[in-house]
């Protein structure tokens, strides 16, 4: 089981350590880890999640500039380690309203208290955000002001949340909300691989259903889809009952209070992509002319926002200059180019042209950059998944129900 958790900044400073077991893991482990990370090229996001150090097995995740590092000396499911660290990162980020070095340092007491409740003897104890919120209240303006004015504050609850005892640990029983509303939000990411000749290699949608529930009492919700058969894969929040899904493809659940991810799904083998990106590379004696055209392929019916095209210039390119007829182009130090287009104008197709100077000895570019597109379409779920109805039972008055949808680019790649 986990022995110790370290939180490390992206400059290698250990922000805090939390020993979880009687056997302490020494801090020097972090030095070893940091040196290892540097020998691996220093790209923190590319490090392996499971590393065998000479003395310990390390699990690590990298989130927004912070490394969460846990160690163990015995066999345990490695995914349990990484998954738990993800949970820790989620909850801390949720509490502090983001993740960065200063935030963690400023709220180190809360982080300690959270970690102490989340894990006991290296084994996850409470990871349910709703219960944790009851046990340790998150920092907010009021409590900060209070502490400034009165000079004292306590964010540790004196009573045990009732939900720890119930069989639905994600919800406490006596919730009273002033509002009486539930929002269902479809957030989809479109993954696509397009070859240089414009052929679609694969296109699929990864989607999440996010629910924001502000309902009092103990509501029982049933969500049904008009076309559940298009769902290829699904993963559920623990509140979803398995039987109704197995039998009728219905989502029946008692929702946690507040925002949560109800399910995630995948729709595969889609045929159409909203925008096209056409890169073209023409090499001639030591230099290479690059043009990229972007345009709407299949109009989703809603405007496509904040389009950005990013790519890495190959290492054999010594210099490059780009001009575009729309939007701005930036070349960063690590040879990363980013062309932010925004919305596609009606009158012209945005294009990017540039000249790449190749390393001497190369007559033509033999490696090809992969272009990644980012965009966002509000109000549309490109997978075509439709929510049929949402029934709320166990409520005295029918709540307000809201539905929204959003599609953005996931791993949307165009090879050149």
């Amino acid at each position: 089981m986990l022995q110790c958790i370290f939180i490390i900044s992206n400059s290698g400073e250990v922000i805090l350590e939390k020993q979880l077991q009687g056997h302490r893991a020494d801090r020097s482990l972090c030095n070893w880890f940091w040196e290892y990370a540097m020998t691996q090229g220093g790209e923190l996001s590319q490090l392996l999640p499971v590393i065998a150090s000479p003395t310990h097995y390390l699990f690590q995740i990298f989130r927004e500039g912070i490394i969460f590092l846990a160690c163990t000396q015995v066999e345990m499911p490695p995914l349990m380690g990484t998954e738990f660290l993800c949970r820790v990162a989620d909850i801390i980020s949720d509490y502090l309203g983001g993740l960065n070095e200063d935030l963690i340092k400023d709220n180190f007491v809360i982080v300690y208290e959270l970690l102490d409740e989340m894990v006991d003897n290296g084994y996850p104890l409470i990871t349910e955000p709703n219960i944790l919120r009851e046990m340790i209240s998150p920092p907010n303006i009021v409590s900060k002001m209070l502490s400034v004015v009165t000079g004292r504050s306590s964010n540790v609850s004196t009573t045990l949340p009732v939900a720890t005892q119930s069989c639905a640990p994600w919800r406490k029983t006596d919730i009273k909300n002033s509002g009486n509303e539930v929002y269902v939000n479809l957030v989809e990411e479109i993954d696509a691989i397009v070859r240089s000749d414009g052929n679609l290699v694969k296109c699929e949608i990864y989607g999440e259903i996010q629910v924001d529930s502000n309902l009092s009492g103990y509501p029982d919700l049933t969500l049904s889809f008009a076309n559940p058969t298009i769902l290829n894969d699904v993963r559920f929040h623990p509140c979803i009952r398995f039987r109704p899904w197995e039998l009728y493809q219905l989502l029946s659940f008692v929702p946690p209070n507040g925002q949560f991810k109800l399910m995630s799904y995948r729709v595969k083998k889609l045929k159409s992509i909203p925008i096209y990106v056409k890169p073209q590379l023409i090499s001639s004696s030591g230099s290479c002319r690059m043009t990229v055209l972007v345009g709407t392929r299949n109009d989703p019916g809603k405007p496509i926002d904040s389009i950005t095209i990013e790519f890495h210039l190959p290492s054999c390119v010594t210099s490059a200059d780009f001009t575009s007829n729309h939007g701005t182009v930036n070349i960063l130090a690590d040879k990363r180019c980013s062309w932010s287009i925004g919305r596609i104008p009606k009158d012209k197709a945005p294009s990017l042209t540039g000249n790449l100077v190749l390393e001497s000895g190369l007559s033509s570019l033999h490696v090809c950059p992969v272009l990644q597109a980012k965009f966002k379409i509000m109000g549309v779920a490109l997978s075509g998944l439709q929510i049929d109805r949402l029934d709320v039972k166990n409520m005295p008055t029918q709540p307000y129900k809201g539905f929204r949808a959003l599609t953005r680019a996931g791993e949307y790649e165009v090879r050149s």
Partner: protein
């Protein structure tokens, strides 16, 4: 662009963050020790205490050691404020290991908190208390734990379950059983959350006590969906292990598929090293898959120790092959239930749960249903970024064992530019494994794109993967070769590499891949070779050139075109020799030599010329290696018999035939494809850490041996009442020992000492049958080893009037009542220490003890008489038996059978009332302690009886002196030494009697010695080596009385030494400790138990 603006923005954000930091603990983290902490800790205000503690926490976070505040902090634990309490607990737990003694100070406070009305306080106290790693605290913590395990709050019970493994870490032997009991209580808890935590505790405390699970298996399965996600992982692992141990592997599953049940031959070979051609047995399974599956079966079940030991002695282990119950069917209810209750977990949001559930299905589910796990684990790849690597590593193994499973999902493994290098390589490996006829066009198209990847390391791997694909699917060879040639062409056009490190690698790998492909059918790919040769002009990279030159030499005699261009090529090579790099020079030398050797006809002369030209150049080369090789080749080639030129005149010396052979082997041998590298890696259970780091992490446990948990053990568990106690009589104890003994490693003995299972019973029944035929004189059963003097006696009881009827007492049987005097004497004669007392003190010993020998001991030695047939049952016939220590004349290796065998014996014609007949039955027990079922026939009636073998007679006395004894004893120390204590009370009566009579001169201690010796000698076939008797002032006290016995095991002649030490008062029961030194652990332990059993049993003399 606008640096000044950027600066403003930065300072703005700094200012805003300053605003945000107000009211947080920021200042505490930044300057934790700007005020002195100690007075704050002693403050009477909670807020000041809290501040001080926060400062300490900040120091801990920054890695400072603030354990010196421990005493001051600890006393604050009594605070009513929950915040301070929480902070104190945080502090204490951090330093509990370092300052355990001071932590003790707080124990009273913890105990008070444990009975607090607030469950949160109780839980905190329990967590803090169990976190203190101090042995002294063990018992107190255990009491607290048992109390908390029954707490009304499930949260406290959950914490109690977690605390169990903390306590277990202290390694307190005496607590082990109570911990297990608590685990069992908590596993039975009605709250799913507690069950999950208890499952984790089970895994760390008693992972092998699977019988705990048996009783509640169904209930546990039903609670699985309600258990919290972390508990699910631990729980389904236990359930899987239980099912394997209880029911064995599933016949339809992938693990069993390497094990075709129809084919008994391959079944026997199951555990042997897989032969490369094994795949031919199963038509539908590829050889490599098949090997993979076999490996899986083997590796999942055996632990690291077994693995390494097998590596060393390569011993064949055929555990499973003779056990039909090794397999169960998918229809088994428990298997079905477990699969059913884990299926919904595949939809879990926690990727660890998904993978754990997939692991259960991988092991148990039938191959048809395996499809179910594919989509969920592939979805994990997309939905949880952090888990991708681990999941891919597991998929890699799954795909190798069953490529068809994933072949339809190749799209999921297409590389994305955001993947790290390791992930790309993993995906590539999976893609080339699962490539099938239907998907290969798409995969190859992808590969074409990958070759253009900016990361050239990856491009090299892609080129290598192409060759792998061709190996699996020869039909695409043509397309691939074209592609590879294009790569060669493109890469060779790059003039010099400069900073382009990887480029050369791509080129070399492309040629290597071509080489691997053409190797399979060189004649067919002649054009490819020609193409490569042509590109020699453009390729500059020395290694690449060397490779191509090697290909020329290897395939110089293939096809037609090559034959034609070879002269040109050879001249070309000769020309460019001097400008080549070292590597290529070597290959030119070899290649031209090869061509000369294989060439025929007119070109031969040309080749020789070129060769000698090159050799001349080589002689003056700068590199000594080239010079040496040149000389060697010259020597070899010139001494070659030029048969072709001197037609008709064959004067071949025998020497040159040898040389010819040598040359052929050196230069003309064709390489064989090498396979079997797969055997070198080790597989671990899916989802385990060991599988990721590729070595067995500490605490890794493989699956249990299939069917190692017998039903009996379970049922017994289920009715944990008096039955068990009743059964645990001496005989059943021996029984369980015996079943352990004969198991030879196949089935570990039942956990709680039950009678031998049905299998061995039938074994005995067989013997019975044997015996019947034995009466007809047919079987040539054999035996030796143990030998039984067998006397058939009828009893002289008045009741016995069966007289003449006895005539037809049939042969069979054994037993004996009394040993005839002569037999007894002959046996005793072997006792070496008959002579009279020579009680001289041994000066070499520091202790004042006397070594004595005991005379007349034979009188009191009565071989133990066992009753085979009671007169009451036997219609007046009484049959008794005892073991002798005579050695049978039948050779031990005569009948190598493993079951006890019997030498036929003669019938006893008739027996008169009151008469006694004695005969000898020879039984070879083969080291088995199972009772032997026999039948006695007399008066045409059959009387089934049981003959209990006695391990005491599985040995043979060997005479040795004390020096030899101590020497041998020194060799058998440590793990070969076992000891137990018991009490001995036999002497009391006699001592008392003696008291009444006057024999003052008869030393009591001597009497005791004699008594013990007699009892030992009459219960086991051993030799008395020496008796050390203490010389003490207190005449009623015995201490350090020491008797030594020696013997050797009959079956393998390994020595077995027994030392008996007695202590205590003469008039009371003596404290005896028995020590056995024996190389054979199991035998030694059994013998020890036997000795202790008979020494402590109160025999009526």
């Amino acid at each position: 662009m606008f640096p000044q603006f950027g600066a403003t923005a930065e300072s703005l954000s700094k200012a805003s963050s300053l605003v945000f930091r107000i009211g947080t603990d920021a200042h505490l983290y930044d300057d934790p020790d700007d005020v002195s902490i100690a007075p704050l800790l002693d403050s009477s205000f909670d807020s000041e205490k809290a501040e001080a503690l926060k400062r300490l926490l900040a120091l801990i976070a920054q890695g400072e050691d603030v354990s010196n505040f421990f005493p001051q902090v600890v006393k604050n634990v009594a605070t009513p404020s929950s915040e301070v309490k929480k902070l104190v607990y945080l502090y204490i737990l951090h330093y509990a290991e370092k300052r355990p003694n001071e932590a003790l100070l707080s124990i009273n406070c913890f105990q008070k908190d444990l009975s607090d009305a607030n469950p949160l306080v109780r839980a905190w106290a329990l967590r803090a208390m169990s976190g203190i790693r101090l042995h002294a605290i063990g018992p107190i913590a255990l009491v607290a734990l048992s109390k908390c395990a029954k707490d009304p709050s499930s949260y406290v019970r959950k914490c109690a379950a977690n605390a169990l493994s903390k306590l277990n870490d202290l390694h307190q032997e005496e607590n082990a059983s109570s911990l297990e009991e608590l685990v069992s209580i908590l596993l039975n808890d009605h709250s799913p959350g507690v069950v999950g935590a208890a499952a984790a505790a089970f895994n760390s405390i008693c992972p092998n006590n699977l019988s705990l699970v048996g009783r509640i298996f169904r209930r546990l399965c039903e609670t699985v969906p309600d258990v919290d996600e972390w508990g699910q992982i631990a729980l389904i692992n236990i359930l899987l292990r239980y099912v394997i141990a209880r029911h064995g592997l599933v016949e339809e599953s992938i693990m069993a598929s390497s094990h075709p049940s129809e084919n008994s031959d391959s079944r026997r070979e199951l555990f042997s090293i897989p032969a490369p051609d094994r795949g031919s047995i199963l038509v539908e399974v590829e050889p490599s898959e098949h090997i993979m599956r076999e490996l899986m079966l083997r590796h999942y079940i055996e632990g690291p120790e077994q693995y390494s030991s097998r590596q060393i002695d390569a011993k064949e282990d055929d555990n499973g092959s003779n056990n039909n119950s090794y397999f169960t069917s998918i229809e088994n209810n428990d298997v079905k239930l477990l699969l059913q209750c884990t299926s919904p977990l595949l939809w879990s949001q926690n990727s660890a749960v998904v993978l754990a559930a997939a692991g259960v299905h991988w092991v148990l589910a039938s191959q048809m249903d395996m499809e179910n796990i594919v989509k969920p684990i592939l979805f994990v790849l997309r939905s949880s970024y952090a888990s991708r690597y681990v999941v891919l590593r597991n998929i890699q193994i799954f795909a190798k064992a069953m490529p068809s499973l994933f072949s339809a999902y190749h799209e999921d493994f297409f590389v994305s530019s955001s993947d790290s290098y390791q992930m790309k390589v993993l995906k590539l490996d999976i893609l080339s494994t699962i490539a099938a006829e239907s998907s290969i066009p798409f995969i190859l198209q992808e590969f074409q794109d990958y070759i253009k990847d900016p990361d050239r390391r990856f491009a090299v791997d892609v080129v290598a993967a192409i060759a792998l694909c061709v190996k699996n699917l020869p039909s695409v060879a043509k397309t691939c070769l074209e592609g590879l040639l294009a790569i060669v062409k493109q890469e060779s056009s790059i003039k010099h590499y400069g900073s382009l490190e990887g480029e050369a690698g791509v080129l070399i790998q492309a040629i290597m891949s071509i080489k691997t492909i053409i190797k399979q059918d060189p004649a067919n790919y002649e054009k490819v070779i020609v193409h490569l040769i042509r590109s020699l002009d453009n390729i500059k990279e020395p290694s690449a050139r060397a490779l191509i030159i090697w290909i020329v030499g290897e395939y110089s005699d293939v096809g037609h075109i090559i034959l034609k261009i070879i002269p040109v090529v050879v001249s070309y090579l000769g020309q460019c020799f001097s400008s080549e790099e070292l590597e290529a020079k070597h290959q030119i030398l070899n290649t031209v030599a090869k061509i000369v050797l294989s060439a025929q006809g007119e070109e031969h002369e040309l080749f020789r010329k070129v060769l000698f030209y090159i050799l001349d150049l080589a002689k003056v080369d700068l590199n000594y290696d080239i010079r040496d090789r040149g000389r060697m080749i010259e020597k070899l080639v010139t001494s070659q018999p030029k048969i072709s030129h001197q037609e008709g005149i064959l004067h071949v010396e025998p020497d040159s035939i040898l040389l010819d052979e040598l040359l052929k082997n050196m230069f003309c041998g064709k390489i064989q494809s090498v396979t079997g590298a797969i055997n070198h890696f080790r597989l671990y259970l899916p989802g385990s850490l060991s599988q990721i780091v590729l070595h067995a992490a500490p605490g890794y446990t493989p699956l249990p041996q299939p069917c190692s948990l017998p039903e009996m053990a379970l049922e017994n568990r289920m009715s944990q009442d008096g039955i068990e106690a009743a059964n645990s009589s001496d005989s059943s104890y021996e029984g369980s020992q015996s079943s352990y003994y004969d198991s030879e490693g196949s089935i570990p003995s039942p956990v709680d000492g039950e009678n031998p299972d049905s299998g061995s019973e039938s074994d005995v029944a067989d013997n019975d049958h044997y015996m019947l035929r034995g009466a007809n004189g047919s079987p040539d059963a054999t035996a030796i080893g143990q030998l039984i003097h067998l006397t058939d006696t009828s009893i002289h009881d008045g009741t016995a009037k069966q007289s003449t009827a006895e005539n037809n007492t049939s042969s069979a049987t054994d037993l004996t009542n009394l040993m005839s005097k002569s037999a007894l004497e002959s046996w005793l004669n072997e006792q070496p220490c008959l002579p009279s007392v020579n009680s001289s003190a041994d000066p070499s010993r520091e202790r004042s003890s006397a070594r004595i020998s005991i005379n007349e001991i034979e009188v009191s030695v009565k071989p133990k008489l066992n009753v085979l047939l009671e007169p009451a049952n036997g219609n007046g016939l009484r049959v008794g038996y005892s073991f002798t220590s005579e050695i049978s004349k039948i050779s031990p290796c005569y009948y190598p059978s493993k079951v006890p065998t019997i030498v036929p014996m003669e019938e006893i014609d008739s027996l008169h009332p009151g008469d006694m007949a004695r005969s000898i039955l020879q039984v070879h027990f083969h080291h088995h302690l199972l009772p032997l079922k026999l039948a006695i026939y007399y008066n045409e009636k059959r009387h089934p009886v049981k003959l209990q073998p006695d391990i005491g007679y599985f040995t043979r006395p060997i005479a040795m002196d004390l020096n030899a004894f101590t020497k041998l004893e020194n060799h058998l120390r440590g793990m070969f030494e076992y000891s137990r204590r018991c009490t001995f009370a036999d002497h009391i009566n006699i001592v008392d009697q003696e008291k009444g009579q006057s024999s003052l001169n008869d030393d009591k201690i001597l009497l005791i010695c004699r008594k013990i010796a007699a009892k030992m000698l009459s219960s086991a076939s051993i030799h008395l080596v020496s008796v050390d008797m203490p010389i003490l002032l207190k005449f009623d006290e015995v201490s350090d009385l020491c008797l030594r016995f020696s013997s050797e095991i009959l079956s393998n002649s390994k020595p077995c030494l027994i030392t008996v030490t007695a202590e205590g008062k003469c008039s009371e029961a003596l404290d005896i400790s028995v020590k056995v030194n024996c190389e054979e652990t199991v035998f030694g332990l059994n013998l020890l138990n036997r000795i202790v059993a008979f020494l402590s049993s109160n025999s009526v003399s």
